[in-house]
Structures are given as structure tokens and as C-alpha cells.
Symmetry: C2
Subunit: 344 residues, 2 copies
DNA sequence: GTTAGCACTCTATAAGCTTGAGTGCTAATA
DNA sequence: TATTAGCACTCAAGCTTATAGAGTGCTAAC
């Protein structure tokens, strides 16, 4: 099933061309290309072979050819024209990272926005893994006799807060004592282990020092049990509407509903193997994404993978450009995050 | 320009019918309605008058009639069939408010979601006016030698946080002292006045007690200057795609882009006169909303208006149902918020 | 192995025709 | 005078037909 040089050339030109114009390509127009020096009849023969092998398809009996998913897959794996990002794009990225933003979430959010602007596709960023952050400080602020707010600060500067009910007749003065105990014992503990630790170690201490401790322990443990899924950030949600393959309102609806739901996207994003990966069409296992490709890239903080950023476009997307862009972008983002947060 | 009883009846039936089916209505089909007991010829005469007065329009010379914006306006102002929300809807709303949610933002967010599900339109909620919240507590958590996080808690349980740079060679031990001063002097002050107050009153104190105070004061004041616009929450962003008037992909694109941008929506929402208001089509002064109507309703906390919630639908929307729903909803929401936060 | 040539296929577009829902006007009716 | 029946007319939507153009596959010649 080895393809000849000529077949590879034809396949590549067909896909490049289709990515550009979204129109089926015929043998005659192919034969006119500079790179190609054989007659349309020859090309027709080669195309027939390529079709038989499943790399290209016809939209109807007498139409030109269009890449199949298998064709795109081969193209992405073997035929990608190597490409460095455009200078202008690189500068734009640099300028974003040059701004003094501190919150990690804002950086990630902004990343999604910039990438969608640069690519005209939809950008999706999966926020950092908060669960693995380590506790820096817990604070408890009573609002009134019945409610209080627990505030958690992590080593990366992430802040979470949640209201909870105080047990009836709880002495507000005990709160500070309790906060001190918690800070003493829990600082440096990863958020995901907090709940466990509270029940295993802290309960004993609280029993000694705090009256009426039982009601508040469960409330607190519940509050600190940061089981929230990681946040998703989007840029250019509606960019897909400009693509000719989404002129069908039902397709658009399917796609946008799935984006709005977030659940499906989250499932796709969380299985994040390190590096850059391309999922084409049905490889995404999702009917709303049948005509889409998703390119994911991970970014890190120091040695540790912390997040994923992805570009969602039509299967006919500019793989080469997007991949090189993501390459450059995640490298820069990693550098920035490492510098910002690794020095504690 | 007073309309006769019969003209009113005809106008009402036309609009009711069009809201239901999105199809132009002809004299013959009107004459078959139970409410109407005169011939199609008579109706044609009346329709001609109504058209001349600008309440209805034809889509082409021999088509049935369709309500004009003026028609909808008259309908909303004078012809709305009074209607109580459906029992099932009321129960759904009640059940939402019965859940024990504490954070105001979550309540508002959930409100938008529920309303969009109940109406099948897009729901938009403008969050509470944070600026008018009063400071409950400021906390400053140093992350490392160069950065710290300022955390503000307000009387309504709203939490904001922002990272800022510490001036070089700032003594970390001074931070607690500073936080104490700030809390002493600023508790109870509305967020919008914080910055002013810091420069007028606190600077003097800090100068006495804190070394190297000048670098940190501007950083802090900047951080505490909560000038963020109020948050917007959406529900059912893609619901509009199911409306027949949005089968045109360009219209959809305009509308969704404007929603994604948030700016335009924010401008519409922030001019929130108390009570329920209807803006029809071009009354919204926004080309993306030409075929849309926006119904806004305010909700309160005790005596004070705190937020706005709105339903965005096609001009052909079910005004009566939506208005009664919003009426009921905001009353309930107001009760809940008043109960939750007014007891401090 | 490559290519020229030809018959064939299918889409897209435009033009023509028909149907049906609707109108406006006029004259007859209550 | 207000209402209605009747009729000629209009237009959109749907269907059919014709045409042009881009493309294919196959065969035979180079």
C-alpha cells in the first residue's frame, strides 16, 4: 500500500488546495499547477488509485475529488509542509505575554482569545489543575450569625471561596482559633487531599479546642472539597459560522450547543497527552464534531504539565499553520508560567 | 387614530396567530377563527385600514399580513392577554429557589439558565452592583517575595481578589500590620469609595506605621479600585437558532457575535429602569437586534434594586407568557435575596 | 507508462408553467 | 350605511425542462 512519489504529490496538492478553497479539485485544474507536469489523464488514473485506497473521495459520480478523513490523517502524519509561524503572529503573541498579567486564569483566558483571533477558528483552553495546587492559606470570614465564607489561597495564587452555614449557636469567636489550627496543619497540602486530611488529622485537634465542633467540620470539609472540574475558556466561539461547511443551520446548532454545554468539550480536553495532537473528524467520537478537527497542545509550569489549549476548526483547517502556531505559543506560555510561579 | 373594537380584535388575533406560527395571516383564515364573525371581505377592508395606520404589513403585494413593530408595540401596550404563569413553570421556579445556594452570583447564573429553559429564548442576567457592596474584610496574602494577593470580602459575601507586585525589599512582616490598619479604617465602606478613602485617610496612617509605604499604597489602591463592569450571565445562547426567523446564517452570526462580545448587551442592560420593560426590534438601537425584542426586569434586595434580568427573543416572541413569567420570577428572586442577605 | 480524445454523468442555473393563497375593487344585499 | 359575495389580478413556491460546464472513465494511439 506504499504510495508513489507522484501519488504523494497529488494527494498533497489536492489537500492544500481544498484547505484553501473548500472546492472539489478536478484533474484538469490540478494539471495546470506549477508543481505538476503530467497530463490530466495521468492524474485521473492516479486519482482513481488514491480513491480506491481511501485517501480521497468524490462528492458525486462526476465531481472533482475531496480529501477523506484518511487522507487528512495521512497528510497530517506525513505530508505537512514544515512552517514557522508568521513574524506578525509571533509578535502578537509576544506582545500578549509581555503584558503584566498575574492571575493564571487571566493568562489562560487571554490565550484562548488571542489564538482564536490569530487562527479564525475556535480556541479552547483548559485551565490549570487546581486540585494539585498546594494550600497557601485558609481564611474564614463570618458574614453574620448563620453564614461564613471560607477562602482558600493556593501556592499559584488561585483563590477559591465558598459560603457555608454555621451550626446554630456556634460561637463566632471560635472561628479564628479554628482557622489557625487549619493553617498550621494544612499549609502545603494539595487541595485534593484536604478533605481526607481534615477527617483523619484535624478532627481530633478540633475536638480538643473547639466547642460544638462536629457541625462545622462537615460543613468545612464539604466546602474545602474542591471537586470542581477544571475551568474551560473559549475564544471565537462563533468563528466556525464563517466556514463554508457550516452554512447548514442544523450543523451550527449542534456544534454550538455542544460548545455551550461544555461537558463534551471537557471530556475531549481532559485526556491530554503531552505535546501536540490532532484529532480529525470522527476520531473525536462526537457526532457534533464530525466535520471538525481538534488540535490540542499541552503547556507546562516548570517540569509539570498543567493545562491544555486547543484549536477547533473544520476538518479542512490549516493544520500546518495552526500546529506551528500552537508550538510557538505553548512554548512561550510555558516559559512565562514557569518564570511567574516557579519561584516560591 | 382611535381603533375600533373590531380593528383591535383583528389586530390582536393577527399578532397572536403570527406569534404562534410565524406565517403571514390572510383574511380567509382569519374569518374562520371562532372569535371572528364577519366575512373575509370585511376583514380585508379592516386590514387595509390597519395597514394604512402602520400596524400590520404585507411581505409582498398578495401576501397575508404580518405585524409591524408599531403593531407589536400597540399589542404590548394595550392588547396583552393577561396571563398567570403555568403551574408547572411556577413549580420549577420555586424548586430552584428552594435549593440552598448561597453565593449571589450562582443564584443569578442559575436564574438565567432556568429562564432560558422555561422560555426557549435567551436569558441574560446582569449581576449585582458590586461597587455598592460594603467592605467586610480585606486580607493580604503574600505569595512570595515579589507578589501578594489582596482579597476583599463584601457584606453580601462577594469575594474579589487580585494579585499585585510588592515593592522591592518590602518587609513581608509589615503586611499584617497594614491589613489591620486597612480593616480598622475601611470596614463598612462601599467598594466604590475605597480608593478615594485610601488616599485621603489611610496614607497618613500608613506613613506612620509602615516602612517603605509609598510603593505599596498605589499598588493596593489600584487593586482595590473595583471598576470592573458588572458581570453578565447567559442562558440558552443558542436558543435563537431554533427560531424560524434565524434560518439565515448571517443574521445568526451577527447576533451571536454581539452576544459573545458582551459589550453591546451590557450597554442595553445597564440602563435598567425599575420594573418590566419591553424593547421591540429597532427600539433596541442595534442592528444585530433588528428582529429581536428584549424584555428586561429588575430584581431587588430589600428596598434596593440590585440587578436586571432579561429575555431576548425574536420580535415574534410570546410577550404575554414571558412577561408573566418574569413578573413571578423576579418577585421570588427578590424575596430570596432579601431573606438571605438582609439580615446582617 | 503516458496522453489525447471521446462519450458520458452530474450539478447548478435559468426559464417556463402551474397552483394556491392572498389581495383590491365593485356591485349587490341587509 | 355597513356588510358581503364575487371576480380579476398578483405573487411566491414548487415543479419541469433545457443548457452549460466541470468533471470522470475508458480506449486507443504515442
Amino acid at each position: 500500500m506504499m504510495l508513489t512519489e507522484r501519488q504523494l504529490l497529488i494527494l498533497q496538492v489536492i489537500i492544500d488546495e481544498f484547505i484553501l478553497n473548500a472546492q472539489p479539485i478536478g484533474s484538469r485544474s490540478l494539471s495546470k499547477k506549477d508543481e505538476i507536469n503530467f497530463s490530466s489523464a495521468t492524474i485521473r488514473n492516479e486519482m482513481a488509485d488514491l480513491e480506491e485506497l481511501g485517501f480521497i473521495e468524490k462528492t458525486h459520480t462526476s465531481s472533482g475529488r475531496v480529501p477523506s478523513e484518511k487522507g487528512y490523517r495521512y497528510y497530517v502524519d506525513h505530508l505537512l509542509p514544515p512552517q514557522a509561524p508568521k513574524l506578525a503572529d509571533m509578535q502578537k503573541i509576544k506582545s500578549v505575554f509581555a503584558e503584566r498579567i498575574y492571575e493564571m486564569e487571566k493568562i489562560v483566558q487571554k490565550s484562548a482569545q488571542i489564538l482564536s483571533e490569530l487562527t479564525n477558528y475556535t480556541a479552547i483552553a483548559l485551565g490549570p489543575k487546581v486540585k494539585e495546587n498546594k494550600l497557601k492559606k485558609i481564611q474564614i470570614v463570618p458574614l453574620n450569625k448563620e453564614t461564613a465564607i471560607a477562602i482558600i489561597v493556593t501556592n499559584t495564587g488561585h483563590v477559591e471561596n465558598k459560603m457555608f452555614s454555621l451550626p446554630p449557636s456556634f460561637d463566632v469567636n471560635e472561628i479564628e482559633k479554628m482557622a489557625n489550627i487549619l493553617n498550621d496543619r494544612l499549609t502545603g497540602v494539595p487541595l485534593m487531599e484536604l478533605k481526607d486530611k481534615i477527617f483523619k488529622e484535624i478532627v481530633v485537634l478540633l475536638r480538643q479546642h473547639i466547642h460544638n465542633y462536629d457541625g462545622i467540620v462537615t460543613a468545612l470539609a464539604d466546602t474545602l472539597n474542591v471537586s470542581k472540574p477544571r475551568k474551560l475558556f473559549f475564544g471565537g466561539k462563533t468563528n466556525m459560522l464563517s466556514q463554508p461547511e457550516f452554512h447548514d443551520i442544523d450543523k451550527v446548532k449542534m456544534l454550538l450547543s455542544m460548545i455551550e454545554q461544555e461537558k463534551g468539550i471537557y471530556d475531549l480536553m481532559k485526556q491530554n497527552p503531552a505535546g501536540i495532537h490532532v484529532k480529525i473528524g470522527r476520531e473525536n467520537n462526537n457526532s457534533a464534531l464530525e466535520d471538525c478537527s481538534l488540535i490540542t497542545a499541552t503547556y507546562s509550569m516548570g517540569p509539570e504539565e498543567v493545562g491544555t489549549i486547543a484549536i477547533l476548526g473544520p476538518t479542512r483547517m490549516e493544520y500546518s499553520r495552526v500546529i506551528s502556531l500552537l508550538h510557538f505559543f505553548t512554548a512561550d506560555l510555558t516559559t512565562l508560567l514557569t518564570k511567574l510561579y516557579q519561584k516560591q
